[in-house]
């Protein structure tokens, strides 16, 4: 069946990308300082070091070492963080929920604001609201996300004192063991608001413009004119006939923004000292905590590959006309 072939092809691509990423990760490990020095310090004599080096397999051929690295990685062993003295993957698992909270918060804002506004701009391009939205979107694109974050802190935390300026707060709820969220208490929510707005601020202009231009294109199509000719209510023409067709390109473009989203979580988390993956990564870079850096790169690569594959799958499910052979471009 076509869908199985498509799945296999996609899966193979995903595996290939992951192999490349892991190879990059491994090369970093090989080049970033001397793991031995991190482990035993300078005082150990050279002969003893060499013996240790042999025992740890550091003198084995490159491919053999890479193969071992890969084997460990697949079993969930990405080394031990120099700073935390714990398995790198455990550290990441600790920080992961915070970043997920932030991404969900920002996504909610993006969807709630950009969908209605983008549609409105397409349906009534000459209204004052559309003009304001389009003008604001070019200003929005021009403000770096960390400045938006700083500005929000300055106004709402420092001057008005309404919302906290850093961290996730104390009142987190553990929904499953090891996984906390701030969405269920006011304390948690109040910490989420500013970072989520900051993170969404860079995507809002992008999505408003994207939804507007896609919807305007759809509204010109014959099937929309036909829908009007059938005497359908405007609501139905706009929000079923036009919007459902607008959704497809928006999902494809929107779905692959996850890479950008993760990049901006680094900036947002740094400004708000949000205890998530991004902040952890920047700290790991400052501390030259190589295992943690590599673990982050591999996990982010994995998230990216999985999301893209899922987006492609959703795309084929939502769009009945998509041809399953090859990648939809």
């Amino acid at each position: 069946m076509a869908i199985v072939a498509f799945l296999i092809k996609r899966l193979m691509q995903a595996v290939l990308v992951m192999l490349v990423i892991s190879l990059i990760g491994f090369s970093i490990q090989d080049n970033l300082g001397d793991p031995l020095r991190e482990l035993v310090g300078q005082s150990v004599p050279e002969a003893e070091r060499e013996a240790l080096r042999d025992r740890m397999g550091l003198n084995d051929p490159f491919l053999e070492q890479y193969w071992r690295f890969l084997g460990n990685a697949v079993q969930g062993d990405l080394g031990i963080s120099y700073h935390f003295k714990r398995p790198a993957l455990d550290v990441i698992a600790d920080k992961f929920p915070a970043t997920v909270d932030l991404v969900i918060g920002a996504t909610i804002i993006i969807v709630l604001v950009s969908v209605p506004l983008g549609c409105w701009c397409a349906i009534r391009p000459r209204s004052w609201l559309s003009r304001v939205a389009m003008g604001a979107s070019i200003v929005g694109i021009s403000i770096p996300v960390f400045l938006t974050a700083i500005f929000l802190i300055y106004v709402f935390s420092v001057n008005l004192g309404w919302l906290p300026s850093f961290g996730r707060g104390e009142s987190l709820v553990e929904i499953v063991p090891g996984w906390t969220t701030g969405f269920l208490t006011w304390g948690g929510l109040s910490h989420l608001i500013l970072p989520s707005i900051a993170l969404s601020s860079i995507f809002l202009p992008l999505f408003i413009r994207l939804i507007r231009s896609e919807m305007m294109e759809v509204l010109e199509q014959d099937y929309i004119r036909y829908a009007w000719a059938k005497g359908l209510a405007p609501r139905r023409v706009w929000f079923l006939h036009a919007f459902k067709n607008t959704l497809l390109p928006v999902i494809t473009v929107g779905g692959v923004q996850i890479g950008l989203m993760l990049a901006y979580t680094i900036l947002t988390e740094t400004v708000f000292q949000w205890p998530g993956l991004g902040f952890m990564f920047i700290e790991a870079v400052t501390r030259v905590d190589t295992p943690l850096i590599i673990a982050y790169i591999i996990i982010v690569g994995l998230i990216f590959v999985v999301t893209n594959t899922v987006v492609d799958l959703i795309y084929t499910l939502v769009n009945p006309t998509v041809r399953l052979v090859g990648a939809p471009s």
Partner: protein, 326 residues
Amino acid sequence: MPLLDVRDLRVEFPTRHGVLTALHDVDFTVDRGERLGIVGESGAGKSVAAFAILNLISRPGHIAGGSILFEGQNLTRLSIHQMRRVRGNRISMIFQDPMMTLNPVLTIGTQMVETLKAHRKIGDAEARRIAATRLGEVKIPSPDKRLDSYPHELSGGMRQRVVIAIALLTEPALIIADEPTTALDVTIQAEIMSLMLDLCKTHGVGLILITHDLAVVSQVTQRVVVLYAGRVVETGKTARVVQDPVHPYTRGLLAALPGEGTAGARLNQIRGSMPPLTAVPAGCPFHPRCDHVQDSCRAALPALEDLDGHRVRCTRARDLASGVAA
């Protein structure tokens, strides 16, 4: 009183280079159950006329004058809400390309049921039942199953059958079909056309058939309007216009039909092409392409001359009709 009475219809498109007039004072009528053909080359304003009736001309185009009387109300004066009760209910449309008219992401059933529900107080089950009946009428096999298909799962011919079924759903008084077979495979064009003709007859519904093909017009319609550069140049009973065309343009269109003249000979194309709206010549708009051109043709636009029910816009209409100029 005719079912549809279009008078002095004028459609304008404001552009950066001034106002372009797509239709000039166009008149035609359709009686109950009557079939009218509107003929012309592309760009003559055929489709604009069709869309003008339902007030669906794409912006910034608009109706700048004239009236469209349908079942006793002037469609040009209706509110958006009132217009919606006419569209798809009393007047249905069939578009040119069935690949583009059906929404690709909605099932056939959804697109049929919504049309019924927009105009009738009716439950989903009942609407589906009617939809399936109509699909059966347009000879679509296993209609119940087809309701759950998406448009791309059907061939072009099948899709146009679906569009015809949708047009018939609400038992309209008039169907406007804009080149309904042009985009289809040649082998099924005749099939679809005869299906349409049969259904119009059995349901007693009026038809406006828009086409560039006089052969189809002569098979399907009772009266015909020939448009050139946004004006009516000849109109009358189809049989008469096709047998004794008067306007040199109509004659040219007929001569260009394959099958006219000796087999194997070149088709007799009218020389030149229709001017774009930005460059319509003064006088008779057809004069640069006409074999019978005189000085008077360049001077002023001829009026529609009435040759007892057969009206022709040509200075030399009487000469041509009596064969003097031939």
